[in-house]
């Protein structure tokens, strides 16, 4: 079993799905002969043909709208949006139709589609290529939002997303695409979409994060461990609907919560999680919870992107704040 990167794990999951389910169809810009600008679909058109892996015209609302029509007619489309800054034209179709068709028709029509898109900053990309906009989708009823943070989870969660009978927006953290390798068995085993993953156990405080920031969050946990503080690290993984049981269980033990995300702070998912924890477990909290997030500014071009993304130091400082109360 070879060690592979996250983007290779995405490719592996897509190949597995194409191989085992004839209703799976990939569509997107440059996913065919070019294999996707990040190579997530490399080799797939060659292997599965132009009927299964479709290069589309350049139009994101179109990609989403086509996928809805395809899904409602029984296919399982997996659509790629090339960068997260270009996902906005899909929002109308996703919120007004993908997430609604089941309830609008009381189950008569459903939309088992996946919308894959890269997410986040940190790869020196051009303007509009580095946004984190998962919170917009997490606010949409009827839509699942998922973001893996390792090759194994990318593989298992993507398979689960493709098999899920409802629409899933699947964010892939570009910064992790090639950062780590991990052994990934091509077992076809999905990972559950209704639980977070506890990546590290700890009794002193709970760090919740997702996507690329898991990397800094784990690093912060290691830095804290050096000072004798044991942080529990939870990868949210499925960002909507959120598995609060795991989080509340952890906070019940640690009494301290820090949520870390790259997206802007205001109306980000950190607010959602702090609020729910405060609401449901306020008395468990030994100290006010803390958010460590991107600022409420446009993701800067790359000369300043590292000042925008929460650093290990900022996470550690947040943890200290919550530890000192």
């Amino acid at each position: 079993m070879a060690k592979i990167t996250l983007v290779e794990a995405v490719n592996l999951a897509l190949a597995h799905a194409l191989e085992h389910d004839p209703s799976v169809v990939l569509l997107g810009e440059d996913i065919g002969p070019n294999g996707g600008v990040f190579r997530a679909t490399a080799g797939l058109q060659e292997r599965f043909g132009e009927q299964r892996v479709l290069d589309t015209p350049l139009a994101e609302s179109m990609i989403a709208g086509l996928a809805i029509g395809m899904a409602a007619m029984g296919l399982k489309p997996v659509a790629e949006i090339q960068f997260s800054g270009f996902v906005y034209p899909t929002i109308d179709q996703i919120i007004n139709h993908a997430g609604r068709l089941r309830t609008r028709t009381r189950g008569r029509l459903t939309v088992p589609m996946v919308l894959r898109t890269p997410s986040g900053a940190g790869i020196h990309a051009p303007e509009h290529h580095s946004e984190s906009n998962e919170a917009l989708f997490a606010h949409m009823p009827g839509v699942r939002v998922v973001m893996p943070s390792s090759p194994q989870r990318a593989y298992g969660l993507l398979l689960a997303a493709i098999r899920d009978p409802d629409p899933v927006v699947f964010f892939e953290p570009t910064r992790l695409y090639r950062l780590h390798k991990q052994e990934v068995e091509d077992s076809g085993e999905p990972l559950p979409l209704d639980t977070c993953f506890v990546l590290r156990e700890g009794r002193d405080l709970t760090l919740v994060s997702w996507g690329a920031m898991i990397h800094e969050t784990l690093e912060a946990a290691r830095v804290l461990a050096d000072t004798g503080v044991e942080a529990e690290v939870i990868d949210l993984a499925t960002l909507s609907p959120i598995d609060y049981e795991t989080i509340l269980d952890s906070v019940a033990r640690t009494g301290r919560l820090v949520v870390v995300h790259e997206a802007p702070r205001t109306a980000g998912l950190g607010g959602e999680i702090l609020a729910e924890v405060a609401e449901r477990a306020g008395y468990d909290l030994a100290a006010p919870p803390v958010r460590v997030t991107g600022y409420d500014v446009v993701t800067p071009l790359f000369k300043l992107e590292h000042d925008f993304m929460p650093s290990v130091a900022r996470i550690v400082a947040g943890a200290r704040r919550v530890l000192e109360g």
């Binding site: 169809v25 009927q51 589309t56 015209p57 139009a59 609302s61 179109m62 989403a64 709208g65 086509l66 996928a67 809805i68 029509g69 395809m70 899904a71 409602a72 007619m73 029984g74 296919l75 489309p77 109308d92 179709q93 007004n96 139709h97 068709l101 089941r102 309830t103 609008r104 028709t105 009381r106 189950g107 008569r108 029509l109 459903t110 009823p141 009827g142 699942r144 899920d164 009978p165 409802d166 209704d194 609907p241 959120i242 598995d243 609060y244 049981e245």
Partner: protein
């Protein structure tokens, strides 16, 4: 001197003039007596239904309702040109097509009565529900057609879109996709001259809406949408082409919105009486009736009997609608996802508890 590298014509098709006189070759269906009569009956049926729905709204028994007055021939033309396995992607007015394809009158009323079960279509498995966000349905139709094409099914997808809807980017994206993959999809542009208060001249500088097809490199044709036979002529050809794998067609159907935009609208604010009167002279029922009566295919007596039967059916549908009551509150939770997530289960319980303590009308 520039050379000409591309050249396009937009044809216009009309078979019957407003007096019901034949003015061009008739499509094959014109010699099928029973088909003609069935279509005319369907036209009368939807007109009667529509009038009742407006009356229900006026008497406070229905929410805002969008009348299809004047569009009936087009609707029935579309309905009768398709097969059951084809898929239809309507806007919010195409009751004539929907009734033909198995949507129940009571479902239409439920929808406008504020009840999602109106889109559950007990007898129509795969047609899309009403698309209120203008233009979005055109992409669903192309997506469905892509599914048919990929699975090699000989099915056709057909979307309607209004004259106003042709200004939406989605429509162009849908046509363009249809062109690229030569999809079995038909876009019927229902040019009823108005988008609420905006007349066609303020909607676009295009002389015809059929020519919008040229942008996607696909055929576009204009048809008298109040002339059932012309509608069938162009549709039959478009459907046949699509089914043979020869690709999409855009059909601009010229008709007129004889009603207010919806029952919430007052068209007198923005359009003159004369224009509406002129439009009445071109409406679809009279000309087809004349055509049929002159050929001995329809009589006043028949129309009276048919009208009565329709009224009975409509009354029955209204009773079903009014008797349906409020949907179960659980439904809004239980159909959000295939399986209820934990958080939503808690909200469901909260909602049911709240309902217990303060019940609503």
């Amino acid at each position: 001197m520039p050379t000409i590298v591309a050249h396009f014509d937009v044809p216009f098709v009309r078979c019957l003039d407003p007096e019901g006189r034949v003015v061009d070759d008739l499509p094959a269906v014109a010699s099928d007596t029973e088909a003609l009569r069935a279509m005319f009956r369907a036209i009368l049926r939807v007109r009667l239904f529509d009038a009742k729905a407006v009356a229900l709204q006026r008497t406070g028994q229905l929410g805002t309702y969008a009348s299809c007055l004047g569009h009936e021939a087009l609707h029935v033309g579309i309905g009768s040109a398709l097969r059951p396995e084809d898929a239809f992607f309507p806007t919010y007015r195409e009751y004539g097509t929907q009734l033909w394809r198995g949507v129940r009158m009571s479902e239409i009323l439920l929808f406008w009565g504020g009840d999602e079960r109106g889109s559950a279509f007990a007898d129509q498995p795969h047609d899309f529900p009403w698309a209120v966000p203008i233009g979005t349905q055109t992409l669903h139709a192309s997506g469905a057609a892509l599914a048919f094409r990929l699975r090699r099914e000989p099915r056709v997808a057909l979307a309607t879109v209004g004259d106003g809807g042709t200004s939406q980017g989605d429509f162009y994206e849908a046509m363009n996709a249809a062109g690229v993959w030569s999809l079995p999809v038909i876009f019927v542009v229902v040019n009823n001259r108005w988008a609420i208060s905006v007349p066609l001249a303020k909607q676009t500088a295009a002389q015809t809406l059929a020519q919008k097809a040229i942008a996607a490199g696909i055929p576009g044709v204009q048809v008298d949408g109040n002339d059932l036979l012309a509608v069938r002529a162009v549709l039959d050809e478009a459907v046949a082409r699509a089914r043979r794998g020869e690709g999409p067609t855009v059909i601009e159907a010229l008709t007129y919105r004889l009603s207010d935009h919806t029952t919430a609208d007052d068209a007198r604010r923005y359009r003159g009486k004369e224009e509406v009167e002129r439009a009445w002279a071109e409406e679809p029922v009279v000309r087809l009736r004349r055509f049929l009566v002159e050929r001995g295919l329809w009589t006043d007596a028949e129309e009276k009997r048919w009208t009565e039967r329709c009224q009975e059916e409509i009354e029955e549908a209204v009773r079903t609608y009014l008797g349906t009551g409020t949907p179960p509150l659980e439904d809004i939770f239980d159909h959000t996802f295939a399986t209820l997530p934990a958080g939503l289960a808690a909200q469901r319980a909260e909602a049911l508890a709240a309902r217990e303590s303060t019940p609503h009308g």
